[in-house]
Amino acid sequence: MIVPRYTREIPQRYRLEAGKCKKCGYLAFPPRVVCPECGNRRFVTVRLKPAGTILTYTVIHVAEDNFAAETPFAVGVVETDDGARLTAQIVDCKPEEIEIGKRVNLILRRIRKEGHAGILQYGYKAVLQR
């Protein structure tokens, strides 16, 4: 992943910036240029609430090369409290503790190192609320 491609997504990855449709209120994460619900093209930038609920998940045992050293690791679909959905790793817990419906907080973590140069890439991960 080249640097501009990573940098472009920083508002989403670091600050959970989404686009809220000015007409119907649909939360686009990441932001879009047109609302998939109502076709409106005007959005206001908002930050997602960094907490939500696990809708589904898996524990990955066979990963692509970039993540091979981290297996097994959990990944899930999280619905934030304001109703946006995203995919994130679920960390700081045993896989057996994860369940559909459990509450999580979204926090900033290192996601991976880029290639042999080892450029660090950050983003959100989910941790269980305890």
């Binding site: 998939p36 589904t56 898996t58 524990v59 692509e64 995203l86 994130a88 983003g123």
Partner: protein
């Protein structure tokens, strides 16, 4: 639009074909289809392939294939829709003939997956790169999340998932072109290596090299050739959000339902009229959800139906008589075309040990990514 037929079929065996290059795989399948049809030329071709660039470092493949098919000059285009690329190639050929622009068009698919690429990475490029794959999600991981949601919502069991693989290997055992011609039992599936919980190795389709091709032609040409042909009664497609997380119901595949609705309407049939189906069982859970979206069973009931034998050979509606992606193999771009080949063989009554008695109407369902695209064909036997 005028009526369209399939007049010839050809494929390579599916497997780890170390001695065959991308171009030779394609040429072998294409020549077999041309010979089967008995045509002396083609007016053009469409080639489905997911990612020859990442798998073998080769793009611009349509011209390469025309060249190595010994037909430089013929119009040729590469179509890509991840794992649905092959089905889309058939659909493009259908349109070219239906429109009257071409009389004889080749639709092919090819993938060379065993040339050393990081296959898990390449396949994950069919997911949302920035918002799914960035977080380490793999393709088995996405379907595992669909499986988890389905289990949670409907009570689908681990045993029911395994039974999909058992059934498809039972069929693939009878298919000389299948990559894994062996029977397996439920325990073997459930004790195989974990890939993405709850999916294990034997829930997943394999990494495969292979190519497949069909000759699509006008009815006039089909009748003149005086060989067995089948009619394309419907060619329908639908798309959906690329990211799984954007879908309202994570235990569903809405693109399949939309494409099916369009296909049934075009063909003027209901699902209970179909005699045999080839569906996109890239993972065992996919076959279950697809059965529900195609209207074979109510939502949440597919697992029980499979375990009760509804979709076995001899069952109410045999599904994946070829062995499916699971046992036959899944050379991504070739899969959609190979599905059509199995149905053509069934409708010709030439499927050997896998034959469904009196098959008159067949359906293929081919899907890209985690359901971001789906293409369905309904084919009818012509006697």
């Amino acid at each position: 639009m005028r009526e369209v037929a399939i007049v010839g079929i050809g494929m390579t065996p599916f497997g780890e074909l170390w001695q065959d290059s991308l171009r030779n795989l394609f040429a072998k399948a294409a020549l077999a289809a041309i010979d089967d049809a008995g045509v002396d030329h083609i007016d053009g071709m469409y080639i489905g392939a997911m990612s020859t660039g990442l798998f073998v470092g080769q793009e611009h493949i349509a011209s390469l294939m025309a060249d190595y098919l010994g037909m430089p000059g013929v119009p040729a285009a590469h179509v890509e829709s991840a794992c649905a690329s092959g089905g889309i190639a058939v659909r493009q050929a259908f349109f070219e003939v239906a429109s009257g622009a071409g009389e004889i068009i080749l639709a092919g698919g090819v993938e060379k997956m065993n040339d050393g690429a990081d296959t898990t990475y390449v396949l994950a490029t069919a997911a949302d790169q920035e918002y799914e794959a960035f977080h380490g999600v793999t393709f088995p991981g996405l379907y595992a999340m669909i499986a988890r949601a389905h289990i949670h919502k409907y009570g689908t069991t681990r045993e029911q998932l395994a039974d999909v693989a058992v059934k498809n290997h039972e069929n693939g055992f009878k298919n000389p072109n299948a990559q894994f011609r062996m029977k397996i039992d439920r325990e073997t599936v459930m004790n195989s290596t974990m890939v993405a919980d709850p999916l294990r190795l034997l829930d997943c389709s394999p990494v495969t090299d292979g190519a497949a091709a069909v000759i699509v032609a006008s009815m006039d040409v089909a009748k003149k050739l005086a060989r067995p042909y089948v009619k394309i009664k419907a060619s329908a497609m639908a798309t959906d959000s690329l990211a799984l997380h954007s879908r309202k119901d994570l235990a569903a595949l809405p693109a399949v339902q939309k494409a099916a609705e369009r296909a049934y309407k075009q063909a003027g049939v209901t699902p209970d009229k179909i005699d045999v189906m080839e569906v996109h069982d890239c993972f065992t859970i996919a076959e279950l959800v697809v059965m529900e979206e195609l209207g074979l069973v109510e939502r949440g009931k597919a697992g029980a139906a499979v375990s009760a034998g509804m979709t076995r050979l001899g069952g109410k509606i045999p599904v994946n008589t070829s062995g499916g992606l699971k046992s036959k193999g899944h050379p991504v771009g070739a899969t959609g075309v190979a599905q059509v080949i199995e149905i053509v063989e069934q409708l010709r009554g030439a499927a050997g040990d896998r034959q469904v008695a009196n098959a008159g109407l067949g359906l293929t369902q081919n899907m890209g990514g985690s359901g971001g695209s789906c293409v369905i064909h309904i084919l009818e036997a012509m006697s």
